[in-house]
């Protein structure tokens, strides 16, 4: 394995340099806020830090929303503005890796001693103290044991804490900015915090990696590294070193259409098998998590972020992707109600409005599912998608929270997948793992 490209690099279509520059600017501003705070405090010692925190959050948030690219716009689509927020957080945390200095050699040794009681050179035959890559919340080292090349991921200390405290910092500001009530937004915030905190639990990640790679072992052209639970702990993961090219590097080699389709198909199958058969999905489809091996297979690393889909979300949502249900207005509205896209106390006029808009939106999203194959290379589909997202994000009706919390990660997953397939310009068979649908819902 390896995360050669820094984690978030490709999920937002801006260059890394620009993005870093953005954050340097924010750093200055935040620094400025501290100066402002302490100079004010000179004259008014009673002043507390509320204003400072607000200033910081405002600047952090501002730079985050400036960073949003098309990926973000698409993700916004279904759940509207509330999605912008979690996405911004996620970006921020992945982004922080650019600012985090690499762990010092002694700290790595210390981490091993803490969890295994031994130094790394006593555990592996060879261990490179200099890290080869940065991962989102840690760094990756190369090691060797019994002639096998290994990747060892080590987490930065204190990451979990900073996630919770950063979320708290930006929260009050976000309420105001999005004009949502704390109660409305809290559900979504909790969802994001939960997922982010799960990502810091490496023991859980190892368990899931093994589970998922076993469950997906039957898929064509997909490979996983082997994980070593006995050499992993809360802050350390040991797995096989996966040799291969990252998506960007792979695309630079000008792969044939046939090869693009093969990789694209593997990706499509991997995601749809999980969604429709496992009902839990690798919810971090960004290019850094995939490698193309020398045998032209898709290597998948990093199962840190898994989204489980409960039945009461899965059925109404994916049933909407079938034309059978969408033709039936009454049942469609029932599904929308179950997904809280239409609320109980909406007026008939509102019901009509949201029905029309969401129907159009989901119709767009479901396009690849309607036919048995789909060409993700065509730009028309994506233009339509972005255009619609843009339009909707400007509508005042979508300023409030709608849709169940599960949308956040399910959207991120599917639009992330669409985006990668678009970059690959792949044509894939979309009927390999079809959604399970019901055409009628019990009245709720």
């Amino acid at each position: 394995m390896s995360d050669n490209t820094p984690k978030e690099q490709n999920s937002i279509p801006t260059s890394k340099v620009q993005r870093s520059a953005k954050f340097v600017k924010t750093g200055f501003k935040v620094g400025g806020n501290y100066i402002k705070h302490y100079s004010k405090k000179l004259f008014n010692p009673d002043m507390d830090k509320t204003e400072l925190n607000e200033d910081n959050a405002a600047d952090i948030y501002e730079s985050l929303s400036e960073l949003k690219g098309s990926a973000l716009k698409v993700a916004q689509m279904l759940s509207m503005d509330k999605n912008l927020l979690p996405q911004a957080y996620t970006d921020k945390f992945s982004q922080s890796q650019y600012n985090a200095p690499p762990l010092s050699g002694p700290l790595i040794v210390q981490t091993f001693k803490k969890y295994f009681g031994k130094t790394p050179d006593k555990i592996y035959d060879k261990f490179n103290v200099r890290s080869s890559n940065a991962a989102s919340i840690g760094q990756v080292h190369q090691a060797e044991l019994n002639g096998k090349k290994l990747a060892v991921k080590i987490q930065y200390p204190g990451v979990g804490d900073s996630i919770s405290s950063d979320l708290k910092l930006v929260k009050p500001f976000a309420f105001r900015l999005l004009g949502m009530s704390e109660k409305e937004l809290d559900i979504y915030m909790k969802e994001v915090e939960e997922r982010l905190l799960e990502e810091t639990d490496y023991e859980l990640e190892v368990r899931r990696s093994i589970e998922f790679s076993t469950a997906c072992a039957g898929l064509d052209n997909v490979v996983f590294p082997k994980y070593y639970p006995e050499l992993s702990s809360k802050r350390i993961i040991t797995m096989d070193w996966l040799e291969g090219k990252h998506l960007r590097e792979f695309l630079q080699t000008n792969p044939s259409q046939e090869l693009r389709n093969k990789i694209g198909q593997a990706l499509w199958d991997f995601y749809n098998f999980q969604q429709h058969e496992l009902r839990a999905v690798h919810a971090d489809p960004h290019p850094g998590n995939f490698m193309i091996t020398s045998e032209n297979k898709l290597g998948i690393i990093d199962f840190g972020c898994i989204k489980e889909m409960p039945e009461d979300f899965y059925y109404p949502f994916f049933s909407l992707t079938s034309t059978g249900l969408m033709e039936n207005k009454e049942e469609t509205i029932k599904a929308f109600r179950q997904l809280e896209m239409i609320h109980v106390n909406d007026s008939p006029k509102q019901i009509e409005f949201y029905y029309t808009m969401y129907r159009q939106m989901i119709g767009l999203f479901a396009k690849p599912y309607i036919t048995d194959h789909f060409d993700f290379g065509q730009t028309a589909f994506f233009d339509e998608l972005y255009g619609f997202g843009e339009k909707v994000s400007k509508m005042p009706e979508f300023k409030q929270a709608r849709g169940v919390k599960h949308f956040i990660y399910v959207n991120r997953t599917n639009f992330g997948l669409y985006n990668i397939l678009h970059e690959l310009k792949a044509e894939v068979k979309t009927d390999t793992f079809k959604p399970h649908v019901t055409l009628e819902f019990a009245a709720s």
């Binding site: 002694p106 210390q110 001693k113």
Partner: protein, 220 residues
């Protein structure tokens, strides 16, 4: 037969269960079934015993880190980091005693007696790695200041000790962060940095009398 270790162990057990030093060497010696005279053969006082414990932590730490394979590849900065991490890892097994020993010290600027041995040993250790760092140009040679680098590291150690005894985080992760950040900042300052340029600029200005006068602090 009593040994340094067995007496120290009994002493730690005593202070932790009683919450204070034994009232006299006589009482303590009696409790561990030895004569007072025998006790004095090892230590002159309870403070000397505690001092020896603290020095022992550092001796063990230094011996331990030097056996690590990577030691020889480490820069001065990494050697210092390595000491800090291993030192606090070692202290973990005696945390209660450490907290007791630190908390009973009077809050003064002078180094308390029980830390003197640790301080001397630590400064020696730092001196070696500072000299090494200066030779390899990792650190910047500055008149007067480079002799004081070791003091800065001692201040760090005292700071982290106090941080650690108040650290409630799981696995003392916060202390790890404090070490990583603190030592890095300290060594950043030891390196060639804007400070050197500032000093040089000051020297340049001082040498050019004309400017001195026009700045209004000429001496004549």
């Amino acid at each position: 037969m009593a040994t340094i270790e067995s007496i120290q162990k009994a002493y730690i057990d005593f202070v932790l269960t009683q919450g204070e030093q034994p009232k006299s060497v006589y009482i303590f010696a009696k409790k561990i079934k030895m004569t007072e005279e025998e006790f004095y053969r090892f230590f002159g006082s309870f403070d000397a015993l505690e001092q020896n414990l603290w020095t022992g932590f550092a001796v063990k730490t230094i011996a331990e880190i030097k056996t690590q394979e990577v030691w020889s590849q480490y820069s001065a900065r990494e050697k210092a980091l390595s000491f800090f991490y291993s030192f606090f890892e070692l202290l973990k097994s005696s945390r209660s005693f450490v907290v007791y020993s630190i908390k009973k010290q009077p809050k003064t600027f002078a180094t308390p007696q029980v830390f003197q041995g640790l301080k001397d040993l630590f400064e020696n250790f730092c001196n070696d790695l500072i000299v090494e760092g200066l030779e390899s140009n990792e650190l910047s040679e500055r008149k007067f200041f480079s002799n004081r680098y070791k003091d800065a590291l001692w201040v760090q150690l005292v700071f982290v000790l106090n941080f650690w005894i108040n650290d409630n985080s799981a696995g003392f992760e916060k202390t790890d962060e404090a070490i990583e950040k603190g030592i890095n900042v300290t060594f950043d300052l030891f390196q060639r940095s804007p400070i050197d340029n500032l000093l040089e600029y000051g020297r340049f200005l001082a040498k050019h009398g004309g400017i001195k006068q026009s700045m209004g602090f000429g001496s004549n």
